[in-house]
């Protein structure tokens, strides 16, 4: 008897809570958007988060932000977090997937529940998201990277008559972004403007050190050792990941016999903070870095997600009025943020990420 009463009491309490919960959700009419980076804690995504918060405050919505830790940047961890949000019933999810295909079923599950799915930074399988906020096209990224290297190399006396050997330090060899950039770089290297830069031996001059910090460091050290003047040496190294570029700068500093700063160049993708020391150091050939505005990327992702939820834009829309960023074009459910940002000693201090 007593047990039964308790059971009923519990049920009643649960029911009441659920009712109140539902009522308050409906009354407040609050939009909740959840953001899932590839991993937490690197300043790249921290900067995205900053932009996202800015948009959230502007729009008066609730922003949830969570992600796997850096050493556990796997699809499974991302799925675990997504499942939690799906159960909570958030309105929209912004995600930068670690694995474009493996995450798709979970994203589709969210879509089936009426949650809007927006990918940013990296895309997922096309049928598992409503909109992709692309920071940069592969062509624009490749152009930015080659431009940064070309400017520096030209200033150091390289031209069509005096060609330069270049090397690429990529990531693990499976990332969609890096692979697309490498392809675009190859296309650009064949054009007149960049033809004075040559990748001599693909096997050794395009390297894939992976994402282990120490391995990236030691392979970048080997690369620096191969740099210098002369046909059998490398004159410019371009880092394609936010890990590789600072490692190039650091390994140049550590080198026993530093390659001539007047004859070599280092550049690549990284956040300004990660390169600041090297860029400002005149004895280091790392003079510029390439990126896009991470804050704007986060901002645009939240704007897109919010307007999807409110119905201001749909998958068929061709443009979005994105707050302080103004109008951005949407094409094939893909919205592009803009061109590459090249930063150097003059403006590196303006960024804090």
């Amino acid at each position: 008897m007593k047990k039964r009463t308790l059971k009923w009491l519990c049920a009643a309490v649960l029911g009441a809570t659920a009712l109140i919960g539902a009522a308050s959700a409906a009354m407040a009419d609050d939009v909740t958007i959840a953001m899932l980076p590839k991993f937490k804690g690197e300043n790249y995504f921290d900067a995205c988060k900053g932009g996202a918060q800015e948009a959230a405050e502007e729009l008066g919505i609730t922003l949830l932000y969570d992600g796997p830790s850096q050493d556990q940047a796997t699809n499974q961890k991302q799925v675990d977090i997504l499942e939690g949000w799906i159960a909570q019933g958030v309105d929209a999810i912004c995600v930068s997937p670690n694995d474009p295909t493996a995450i798709a079923p979970t994203l589709q599950k969210a879509q089936a529940m009426g949650i809007k799915v927006i990918t940013f930074d990296a895309d997922a399988q096309e049928d598992s998201r409503d909109l992709f906020i692309n920071q940069i096209t592969a062509d624009a990224a490749a152009a930015g990277l080659l431009n940064a290297a070309a400017q520096d190399l030209k200033a150091k006396g390289y031209s069509n008559d005096n060609p330069a050997n270049i090397a690429l330090v990529s990531s693990s060899g499976t990332d969609a972004n890096q692979m697309a950039w490498e392809k675009a770089i190859d296309v650009l290297l064949a054009t007149d403007e960049y033809s004075f830069m040559v990748i001599k031996n693909r096997d050794t001059d395009v390297i894939y050190p992976g994402t282990d910090e120490t391995k990236v460091n030691s392979e970048c050290a080997t690369m620096i050792g191969r740099m210098g003047e002369g046909e059998d040496k490398i004159q410019a190294a371009i880092g394609l990941s936010s890990m590789a570029t600072p490692a190039l700068g650091a390994q140049y500093e550590s080198a026993a016999e530093k390659p001539d700063v007047e004859k070599t160049a280092l550049t690549g993708l990284a956040t300004p903070n990660a390169l600041k020391t090297y860029i400002k150091d005149e004895t280091n050939p790392l003079n510029s870095g390439v990126l896009w505005s991470c804050a704007d990327l986060g901002y645009l992702a939240i704007q897109g997600a919010y307007q999807m939820v409110t119905g201001d834009i749909t998958s068929e829309s061709t443009s979005i009025e994105a707050g302080r960023l103004g109008e951005k074009v949407i094409e094939n459910k893909e919205c592009i943020l803009g061109d590459a940002l090249i930063f150097n000693a003059e403006n590196v201090d303006e960024f804090d990420y």
């Binding site: 830790s69 080997t222 620096i224 600072p246």
Partner: protein, 328 residues
């Protein structure tokens, strides 16, 4: 040439030394640039932190235990160093802090193994997770823009001839290790435990205490290695040591130390660590894709273990026993 000398010429260390010499000569012919100052110095730097940590790993493996948490442990120490380095702590502070932190964390491993009787592989697998997990609790990730005082060891500290100072640290550790492992009473206990725990206990060795001390001692070496790894650049992430434990274990095993413990010398590890450190730059200079480097490392280890196993079958090794009773 007397008999004894002949026997020592048949040792694993001798074979490794010859093997190493062959590769070095081969590189001299095939890729002269491999010996460029820059490449060789950065190779020596990699070798330094690999060997220092491998000395610690060697001691642990000799007691018939293992430590797979070393990579995570090094990550923790690196982040700790970055945190105090950001405040401007010089190398003279960083080094002792790293040694103490390494010893403490490794001591925790020892406690789990000796007091709770958890098998070493399980205990250290668990602490790997705990170390990595705690990193994410205390820090949101990476520490950036570290001052020049922090990167002093990697950027500025050079011995005459441009040799990185990490080589000097490695030399001190190695000489100390070689003498310690050969002559100290403690090392004899380590070998005895690795050979046979029960008989070691019967001879009056406090097995638990010795293993605990071994882990703590090894931790000091892990800490020193972490200083070299952590101060290599002006940013430190939570994955500084990821995956390194396998390289250390491989260096020890390649050096002829039995993975079951009890037999093997540090000298073998000295060669083993060098061979592993040079594979990656060597294949780059030979013009081979770096995708091959892990596979080649694996093959080298496999071949060396097979060769030494084959030799052991031929002549059963006489295991030196500890004189009874005297050590207590």
């Amino acid at each position: 040439m007397n008999r004894r000398k002949k026997a020592s010429l048949m040792s694993t260390e001798f074979f490794l030394a010859v093997f190493l010499l062959v590769i070095l000569v081969f590189m001299r012919i095939a890729a002269k640039e491999f010996y460029s100052k820059n490449n060789f110095m950065s190779l020596l730097n990699t070798y330094s932190y690999t060997l220092i940590a491998s000395i610690g790993m060697e001691m642990i493996i000799l007691t018939s235990n293992i430590d797979v948490s070393t990579g995570a442990l090094i990550s923790v120490v690196c982040l700790l160093l970055a945190a105090i380095g950001k405040l401007g702590a010089p190398f003279a502070v960083l080094l002792p802090v790293a040694m103490a932190a390494g010893a403490f964390l490794s001591f925790l491993n020892g406690l789990l193994i000796t007091k709770l009787k958890i098998p070493a592989i399980v205990a250290t697998l668990a602490t790997t997770q705990i170390f990595q997990g705690s990193l994410n609790m205390v820090s949101e990730g990476s520490i950036y823009d570290l001052p020049a005082s922090y990167t002093w060891l990697a950027f500025k500290a050079k011995l005459p001839g441009g040799i990185p100072a990490s080589v000097l640290i490695c030399l001190i550790c190695t000489v100390f290790g070689l003498i310690f492992m050969k002559y100290s009473r403690f090392s004899r206990k380590i070998y005895a435990i690795g050979n046979n725990k029960t008989s070691a206990r019967l001879t009056g060795i406090n097995v638990e205490k010795t293993i605990l001390a071994t882990y703590a001692f090894a931790g000091v070496f892990f800490g020193i290695s972490a200083v070299i790894i952590g101060t290599a650049g002006q940013r430190v992430t939570t994955t500084m040591g990821s995956g390194l434990e396998m390289t250390f274990i491989a260096a020890v095993v390649l050096g002829g130390t039995s993975s079951a413990g009890g037999s093997g010398t540090l000298l073998g590890t000295v060669f083993g660590a060098f061979i592993l450190s040079m594979i990656s730059p060597a294949i780059n200079y030979l013009g081979i894709s770096s995708n091959w480097s892990d596979a080649i490392k694996g093959a080298v280890i496999l071949i060396s273990v097979l060769v030494s196993a084959a030799r052991n079958i031929k002549k059963k090794r006489v295991i030196p026993s500890v004189s009874g009773g005297g050590v207590s």
